[in-house]
Symmetry: C2
Subunit: 892 residues, 2 copies
Amino acid sequence: MGDAKWIYAFEEGRADMRDILGGKGSALAEMTSIGLPVPPGFTLTAQACIEYVRAGEPFFDALREPIRESVKALEQRAGKTLGGATDPLLVSVRSGAAISMPGMMDTVLNLGLNDESVQGLAATTGDARFAYDTYRRFMQMFGNVVLGIGHDRFEELLENRKHRHGARLDTDLDVDGLREVIGDYRSLVRDECQRDFPQDPEEQLLLAIRAVFDSWDNERAVVYRRVHRIPDDLGTAVNVQVMVFGNRGDTSGTGVVFTRNPNTGEPQPYGEYLPNAQGEDVVAGIRTPLPVDALRERQPGIYQQLVDTCTLLERHYRDMQDIEFTVQEGRLFLLQTRGGKRAPRAALRIAHDLVGEGVISKEEAILRIDPEDIVRLLHRNVDREAPKTVLARGLPASPGAATGEVVFDADTAERLGGEGKTVILVRGQTTPDDIHGIVAAAGVLTSRGGMTCHAAIVARGMGKPCIVGCESLLIDAKGRTFRAGDTVVRAGDVITFDGALGEVYAGEVPTIEPEFSSEFRTLMGWADEVRTMGVHANADTPEDASRSRELGAEGIGLCRTEHMFMTPERLVVMRRMIMAEDEAERAAALDELEPMQQSDFEGILEAMAGHPVTIRLLDPPLHEFLPGTDELSSTAAALRSHGDEEGASAQERALKKVRGLQESNPMLGHRGVRLGITMPGVYRMQTRAIFQAAAKLIERGIEVHPEVMIPLVGHVRELAWTRRLVEETARQVEKETGMELPRRIGTMIEVPRAALTADAIATEAEFFSFGTNDLTQTTFGFSRDDAESKFLHHYLHEKILPENPFTVVDEDGVGQLVKMAVRSGRARRPDLVVGVCGEHGGDPTSIAFFQAAGLDYVSCSPFRVPIARLAAAQAALRSAREPALVAEGAGA
Amino acid sequence: MGDAKWIYAFEEGRADMRDILGGKGSALAEMTSIGLPVPPGFTLTAQACIEYVRAGEPFFDALREPIRESVKALEQRAGKTLGGATDPLLVSVRSGAAISMPGMMDTVLNLGLNDESVQGLAATTGDARFAYDTYRRFMQMFGNVVLGIGHDRFEELLENRKHRHGARLDTDLDVDGLREVIGDYRSLVRDECQRDFPQDPEEQLLLAIRAVFDSWDNERAVVYRRVHRIPDDLGTAVNVQVMVFGNRGDTSGTGVVFTRNPNTGEPQPYGEYLPNAQGEDVVAGIRTPLPVDALRERQPGIYQQLVDTCTLLERHYRDMQDIEFTVQEGRLFLLQTRGGKRAPRAALRIAHDLVGEGVISKEEAILRIDPEDIVRLLHRNVDREAPKTVLARGLPASPGAATGEVVFDADTAERLGGEGKTVILVRGQTTPDDIHGIVAAAGVLTSRGGMTCHAAIVARGMGKPCIVGCESLLIDAKGRTFRAGDTVVRAGDVITFDGALGEVYAGEVPTIEPEFSSEFRTLMGWADEVRTMGVHANADTPEDASRSRELGAEGIGLCRTEHMFMTPERLVVMRRMIMAEDEAERAAALDELEPMQQSDFEGILEAMAGHPVTIRLLDPPLHEFLPGTDELSSTAAALRSHGDEEGASAQERALKKVRGLQESNPMLGHRGVRLGITMPGVYRMQTRAIFQAAAKLIERGIEVHPEVMIPLVGHVRELAWTRRLVEETARQVEKETGMELPRRIGTMIEVPRAALTADAIATEAEFFSFGTNDLTQTTFGFSRDDAESKFLHHYLHEKILPENPFTVVDEDGVGQLVKMAVRSGRARRPDLVVGVCGEHGGDPTSIAFFQAAGLDYVSCSPFRVPIARLAAAQAALRSAREPALVAEGAGA
């Protein structure tokens, strides 16, 4: 056993010994040490649990004597003997890990009772019914959680007896009835365990302790740990505590109180109180608990003591507490305190108020908000209280609630949207061809795709609710219906869905407006004060740009130009450009596109006046702008059958072109800078449009900071070639306008080779923007869509990958490339500006990594901007606390 | 001008000043310095050329005086004056870069002649016809190469005069005729250049020198440098040399002699001699030159002097020489010597013989062979002398010549092949479905695809001739014909093609058998002695394994198991496995596949007895084993129209499965270890088959070294999971057989993340094998097929990439990952075995990199094994000479 201390009396522990004593044990110790009325007890450490798991029986044998000594000390304090024949000492045995884990064995109350001591209890309390009922409860709990006999088996026996005695409630059973039940339980244990119910209190205690230890590795606990990513080697502590009884009459009771309202954050105690009851009676549903206020009238002294305790504990722990208490015959006992769970709104208000009350600093307030809570605050959500019928569940791709008529294609969505109808676009999956439908729809629902499929990315970018991968929807697009289970939904039927929950409901379900409380604004202001990274937004339209500004973005980190060609009237011209049979025809189409692009850029640059706007030149492969081969060949056939030879052959020309553009792996194909180099007219047109827009705004006195970003660069010469084209074009516009036009030219870093050769690339780039979506795809060799639908879920389930690398940046692989590129890029060009514009730019864990890697800014969807602001502030605070980590991050 | 020396007299130079004096200049200087009869002269340095390119006119002006001084020195030596009125000094002006470049201006002879000195020449020689003919030649050459007037324009004028004078040959023109021609030339120059033909010899010389300098950057030279990867900043030297005349009668003449036969390597002088002629007369085709032997009878003394000179120069330069000489009136003059170009066979023989003669060491002999020459030696080639009609040209994907009947589908290829016919499979492109056809065909010809498309890789792997991307073939597979220009070739027609040249011919063209000469075997033996890297082969069948052994492979570095499922009878079972609707059905199919796999492995392990065989578990995505959607839906429709409902719905089930397996980017999709983990039955079956095969062979007393290789690992846990499965399965076989089975388990490193986290991966891997094909795809973000057909050629043409990274490993990007992985893998596991099995394993440049990176072995197609052996030997020798490079390579 060595010299390790395996057991601590409550008097010996402290709040900061959570790793040793568990959450409950350290709280009990802390409350004891500050003089609060806690029934005495002791805690077996989590390390004892781990040692038992490792070494087994011999270790447990060696624990017996220390346990015996601890019990003896408890007996001396209480002046009673565990399971003594007169006035017996009874104890509770509770598990309590450092991190709360509902998967483990929880509680055995009233331990120490046996056939003899129950009589002692009856005699001492003068209440035989109480004593036998307590014994019955003990046997049932012990039998269930320690001996492993199903709860129902006990309930069944109890019900039988109640039935026989004509009793409606448990409390209607008299002592005889209870004795019979105890006899039944005894037989049940004998039948199930081939042994008698243990009568020796010490044996009861040892069995209960061992059961807690064993529960650390039971299946539920293991699964819970996996789901919640709790390490397997923490172990659980075991608390053995003298029993107090809330069921000793009208001056007794049990309750739970939050020091503030956990839903709203209002600074009043909030909770429930059940007179004359033990804790588990609440669970048994015998009586409805009263609001804790009720105690004020019933036992005003106790209530005041409780309120004072709330204040004391909140100040002591510097956070809102969730407190369990019992009143025994007019005396208040505290059984647990812990940080209280709270709704997002309450979390903000409490953090804010605690600063006002001088309890915590602004920095602590910032660190206490879970950035994901911000998501829920910022979107309209389905009213969780409202009645509803769940039709299906999918992946929660973009938060927010949407209600509307079902449509099955983008054109209809656009048409009905134009008529002022609210529609939900339902598709197998979406393609860039559907953009106008997504724009027009209130929300998007797809039966296929992962969290980062086209629909998900586009919808998130637009802040539009979206559920993807809703595989139980059987869509018949031609028949314009979908089936979900037995329900058939037709085009025009109304549905509702909640993109934060991933649930689809029949009909209209009430939704709740998001709120920007003043506490929210104040807290975000504090966050902005402390963060060191900039927060930019990914935005492609003037509307998105304005929204981003409202949400606090300090620039646009990614303006995708491809979506600008997707409106029907532009798509026609774009297709003409692609299909051009000679340079003149192509140039004509480009000339037609140029003023359209220019007006896009004017709008965006104006909305972002004074702030940088990073515009990415055309990135996707050209076939994304053309119809699919199926569509073309069926249109051709249709036209021909109507005698339209000319129309048919035009379709066939297009078909040939599309076939020529088809690629085995478009993700790795002819796109980005590769397109810019092989078809320079497009980049030249886009560059002209950018700088003509800039010139126009400058003339109007508006400050602009356009930055031109070249996508998919892997070799410095690709960038050098394209940079020259952009520079020459910009200078041409300067010559034409006679103005000096500000600009920066830089590149995405989104293939491994770019990161590996960042020193060379930095000679041609004024800024780097990590495209961590594509960088993750190429570093892992994962096609995002294929991986998420085919094997990634399996990998996550089997813990082969710790996280979805498209959600949380993979630090070891992708992150290593990011750090290499930042380091070698800055070594070559010290004033290199470095940011990230992949989806990870809005993920708090990833943001912490980007802070450590030394990035200048993150860029994310407009609706994630507040989250990123908060997460960046947290990252700055944490890295200031852990300077070693930053140094390693920036220098490793 | 600084202190730089821009001009060297021949006496001042040496052989090792090639970078300064160019190839020709340094050879002339060297021959001068060893006392050989070289007409005196001087050389303007290549640095002068570069400085002229940089600084232009002012620099050239400053050169005038030094040139004048050099001419003066020459005049003093010769006792004549340049262009003097009596006995004029004439010179030749020749370009001569360090690397021979036919793209540049080459030669102006007889410079110094003008209207006056031509008379002096006539007087001195007493041969007016000679003098005027020489002047005519000079004007023509100068007019063409210096003044840039088309050669044809001069020829036309000459022909007119000959016609008018009734002359058949140039030599039939008398002095008057020649004077008229000179007059015509004078007018031509005046018309074209708006000036008179320059009469001042100094001006002639300066113009000629400047023309040589200018020619460094003419288009032909630039293209030539790009094609041959010659740096742009070398510059060319200019040689100015006193003229000697081979056209001064029967005791004069001009010739070229190789010191050994450049076709066979036989150790006798070999060349041509043209009596009474200047060098360009050979080109003009006036007379057929005689074999150089002819000189023996005509001028035995001169002949002996020439033979002695051959011996002297060969010993001096320690290599076979290509010597230009002129005999003027019984005196031998040497005008050039250089290493002689030679056929592959000759190269081997010469290197071999020079070792025997004690001229060079074995190591030098090894370094002198171009590994690519070995390719040509090892394959049957089209007889280049035979008459033939070229139908089309494509990419030379796999060397060797094939003749056979054209077939348009794999099934027919297999059927006719089974009947003993020799067939050529002609397809748009091939897929894994075509494997049986490729196996049966003598060669494969496709109209699409790049050097690394499916057909190319498979054919190279099988050592089968192949041409791909033959875009001028218009294939009508349904009509079973193809059109090439005006020729229509039908199924059953015979064609021939040469995969080393990329040419397709009509009908049967004679081919030449490859030879393994004894010199070849000796040289390869020497190579094996010095190389430090192992050479393994990529081989999937016992036949390939045996062939690899014959070609010197020391193991199999990549045995792909997927091809083993491609024969029709196995494909059926494989498809059943994939289509299985429950685990039992899948297990049954796997059970059926197991003995087939086992027999494959037995054959391969036996063929490689005593050597390691690295078997890669199944890698490609499953849809590669299923028919295409088009095929399935048309079959279904056909079956239905014939009333076969059951058959049709089976096809539709398959169609649904195929659709379910389809991926956006299969290269980055559900394949490799991802398949192994999500469908573990396949890997388990393959592992059983491997170790059962091993057990069977061990029982028969055969030594086996099976190594199991897991493809596409990106995270150590993927490998750990799979390794456990393999280990458990192997131990199970050990238990069943009661034998101890040798094994190694390792992984491919073929995605960047694997290289970046190689230290972690090394904890689970006993060996790494770099899959540089996929690693190149993922590092660049290039899909190989898409890149080669869409933009890679453009990139190479525009010099955006220096090399095709799928041919020569990209050192900066991919190579950096390789070095990182080797270093960190070995740091974690010092005995880690590291090899490469991508296409680069057979590329000499890449092999040199792998040597520097510290790899243990390379693995390549069987037919590239000898090349790899030689390249590895060269790399070892070079790295031994340049230890700094190795250190940097292994440690950077």
